[in-house]
C-alpha cells in the first residue's frame, strides 16, 4: 500500500480506456477521486457502478467515458441524471454504450469477480426484455442437480476499483462502516484497489466483523477529508440532500452544467478548495 497525494494516486492508477468502478451505494461515494479524474482529463473510460449517481453524471457529461455498466441510473428521490440521459439520447458530449444489469445481477457479478469465479449464479427472475438487449450480460441455464432455472452473469473485474472509506491506520488497513453496498465485493474483484479516506488513525476502532480491507489488498490510498461529499461518510458528515435536490437544475442544461464543472471542479486545485468554494467547508 502506497500513501500518496490524490493527484499522484489517480495519475498512477487510472489510465485512458480503463475499466473503472467508483463504488459506494449512496454512502461513501468517492467524489474527490472522480473530480481528480475529470481534472486529469481521462478519456474513453469504461465506468462501472451499480448506481451511477451524480459522480458518473459529472464524468459522463465531461466526456470521460465511452461505456457504462450499471443497474440503476437516476438521482435517487429526485429524478433523472440529465447528463447520462443526454449521452444516451443524443450522444452528447459523446455516445455512451450501455451494459445493463439488475441490482442483484451486478452485485453477483462483482461477487463472482471477487471469488475468482468466471460467472455468478442466482435463481432466475421471470423474463424481462433485459434478456433481449443485454444478452451478453446474462444467460439462463438449468441447475445441474434440480433442473430449476438459473441466471448466470459473467464476473465483473474492474482494472481499478476506487472506494472512499472512513479510516486508514498507520499500517494501511482500511475501515468502511455503515451502508457498504457492494463496495467490499467491488474491491476484492479489482486488479488494483485505490482508497480515499477521511482520516488516518493509529489504530482502527472496530468490532471483529467490521469491513476492514487489509493493507496488502490496497494498491494506493490518499487522505481526503470530505472526499465523499455530497454523498456522506457515516460518523463524519451526513448526505447533502439539499445538493442532490439542487443538482437537478445544474445538470439539466449543457451550458449550466459545463459552467458549473469549469468553476467548481476544473477551476480548483483539489477537493478542499472545491468544498471551500461551495461554502461547505470553511
Amino acid at each position: 500500500m502506497q500513501l500518496l497525494p490524490l493527484k499522484e494516486t489517480i495519475a498512477a492508477h487510472v489510465c485512458d480506456g480503463a475499466r473503472v468502478a467508483l463504488e459506494g451505494f449512496t454512502h461513501l461515494i468517492p467524489f474527490a477521486a472522480g473530480h481528480e479524474i475529470v481534472r486529469q482529463g481521462r478519456r474513453d473510460l469504461h465506468l462501472i457502478r451499480m448506481t451511477p449517481d451524480l459522480i458518473y453524471d459529472q464524468l459522463i457529461g465531461m466526456g470521460c467515458a465511452s461505456r457504462l455498466t450499471f443497474s440503476w441510473g437516476g438521482n435517487p428521490g429526485v429524478g433523472s441524471l440529465h447528463r447520462l440521459r443526454e449521452a444516451v439520447e443524443h450522444g452528447w458530449p459523446q455516445p455512451l454504450a450501455l451494459t445493463e444489469y439488475t441490482h442483484a445481477e451486478l452485485a453477483l457479478a462483482y461477487q463472482a469477480g471477487a471469488n475468482g469465479m468466471t460467472c455468478g449464479l442466482m435463481p432466475h427472475h421471470t423474463d424481462t426484455d433485459l434478456d433481449r438487449v443485454s444478452s451478453s450480460s446474462r444467460h439462463t441455464l438449468s441447475c445441474p442437480f434440480t433442473g430449476r432455472p438459473l441466471t448466470a452473469v459473467p464476473a465483473v473485474r474492474p482494472d481499478v476499483t476506487i472506494l472512499h472509506a472512513q479510516q486508514i491506520d498507520t499500517a494501511g488497513n482500511v475501515l468502511l462502516r455503515g451502508i457498504v453496498g457492494a463496495a467490499r465485493e467491488a474491491a476484492m474483484a479489482a486488479e488494483r484497489l485505490v482508497i480515499t479516506v477521511e482520516e488516518q488513525v493509529a489504530r482502527l476502532d472496530v468490532d471483529l466483523n467490521a469491513v476492514v480491507l487489509p493493507s496488502w489488498v490496497v494498491t494506493a490510498a490518499s487522505i481526503v477529508p470530505g472526499g465523499a461529499w455530497p454523498s456522506y461518510a457515516h460518523g463524519y458528515y451526513p448526505r447533502d440532500n439539499r445538493f442532490y435536490l439542487g443538482w437537478d437544475e445544474i445538470a439539466r442544461e449543457r451550458s449550466v452544467f459545463t459552467a458549473w464543472m469549469e468553476q467548481y471542479v476544473l477551476g480548483v486545485s483539489d477537493h478542499a478548495a472545491h468544498l471551500r468554494m461551495l461554502g461547505v467547508a470553511t
Partner: protein, 274 residues
C-alpha cells in the same frame, strides 16, 4: 380530475391507501418516494411491528424522517442490522423472507407488467429512464407485489415499450407457469382507486374508487378498455389521524432536507502523517 375538492391531496389518499394494504408484522421491501412514505405511515399507525428492508442493506429500519435516497444515514442509524447489498437480495429476497415488495414505473400494461427502462426504441430512446434496479427481483421473489402509480393514458398503456419487470406476463396463469415463486402484483394503487387482477384472466380490473371519483374518469385515464369489477367498492377517505401522521412526517422530512451540511477540514499544515 382526481381526488377533487377534499381536504386531502391525490398523493395523500394514494399513500394512505397503500399503507392500509400492509398488515402488522409483515416484512416489506421498500422503494423510495411514495412507497417509503406509505410503509413508514403504516409503521407509525396500524402496523408498529412492520419490518422495513431497504435495498441499501438496512434491515428493520425505523426512520423518523423519510430518506431522500435509499441509503441515507438515518436508515442505518435506526436499523436492526445493516448488511452488505448482495445479502439483501440473496438472504432476504431470493430466500423468500420478504412478504411485500413495492414497485412503481413509467408504464404499466393490463397484466401489470412494468417498464422503468426506456420510452421509445431501446437503441434510440426518446426518454432514457433509470432502469431496472432491484425491480425484476422484487417482482419475482416478493411474496406479493404492490404497485403505486398515477393513472394516465400515457402510463397505463396497451403495450409497453420495454418490459423491465414482470406482472402476469400474458395472463391466465402465464406467470405461474414460469415457476416464479411470488404471487405477483395483488393491487395497483392509483390516484383514482385500486385495480386488482381478475382471478381467472389476471387482467387488471378496477375494484375500488376513492370518494367522489367516477368510473368514467378512471376509464378515461387508462390506455386500454378498463374492465370494472362486478362489485365496485368506495374506499374510505384518509382519517384525521392518518393525515396528521403523514403530514408531520413530510414536514420533518422537508426540514431535514433543507438543512445545510458543513464539513470541518483539518487546519492547513495539520494534515495527517504521510
Amino acid at each position: 380530475m382526481t381526488a377533487g375538492a377534499h381536504d386531502y391531496t391525490p398523493d395523500e389518499i394514494m399513500t394512505v391507501t397503500a399503507a392500509r394494504q400492509l398488515p402488522n408484522g409483515a416484512v416489506c421491501f421498500v422503494g423510495i418516494g411514495l412507497p417509503s412514505a406509505a410503509c413508514n405511515l403504516a409503521r407509525m399507525t396500524h402496523a408498529p411491528d412492520l419490518v422495513l428492508i431497504y435495498e441499501s442493506g438496512a434491515v428493520g429500519t425505523r426512520p423518523t424522517v423519510l430518506p431522500l435516497s435509499i441509503g441515507d444515514g438515518e436508515l442505518a442509524d435506526t436499523a436492526t442490522a445493516v448488511v452488505p447489498l448482495p445479502e439483501i437480495f440473496a438472504h432476504y429476497l431470493q430466500r423468500g423472507r420478504v412478504n411485500f415488495g413495492f414497485l412503481g414505473a413509467a408504464q404499466i400494461d393490463r397484466y401489470a407488467n412494468l417498464n422503468s427502462t426506456v420510452i421509445g426504441d431501446y437503441a434510440h430512446p426518446r426518454v432514457r429512464l433509470p432502469g431496472a434496479g432491484g425491480a425484476p427481483e422484487i417482482a419475482t421473489f416478493a411474496g406479493e407485489v404492490l404497485i403505486i402509480m398515477k393513472q394516465t393514458p400515457r402510463s397505463f398503456v396497451p403495450r409497453l415499450d420495454f418490459r423491465t419487470s414482470c406482472g402476469y406476463l400474458t395472463g391466465s396463469g402465464a406467470r405461474a407457469a414460469t415457476g416464479s415463486p411470488g404471487l405477483g402484483p395483488r393491487a395497483v394503487i392509483t390516484d383514482f382507486g385500486v385495480l386488482r387482477p381478475d382471478p381467472d384472466t389476471e387482467e387488471l380490473t378496477l375494484s375500488a374508487l376513492y370518494p367522489g371519483i367516477t368510473v368514467e374518469a378512471a376509464r378515461a385515464a387508462t390506455g386500454w378498455p378498463l374492465k370494472i369489477a362486478a362489485r365496485l367498492e368506495t374506499l374510505p377517505a384518509p382519517s384525521p389521524e392518518e393525515l396528521r401522521v403523514l403530514r408531520a412526517l413530510e414536514a420533518s422530512t422537508r426540514e431535514a432536507q433543507a438543512r445545510p451540511v458543513r464539513i470541518t477540514l483539518p487546519a492547513a499544515g495539520a494534515r495527517a502523517p504521510n
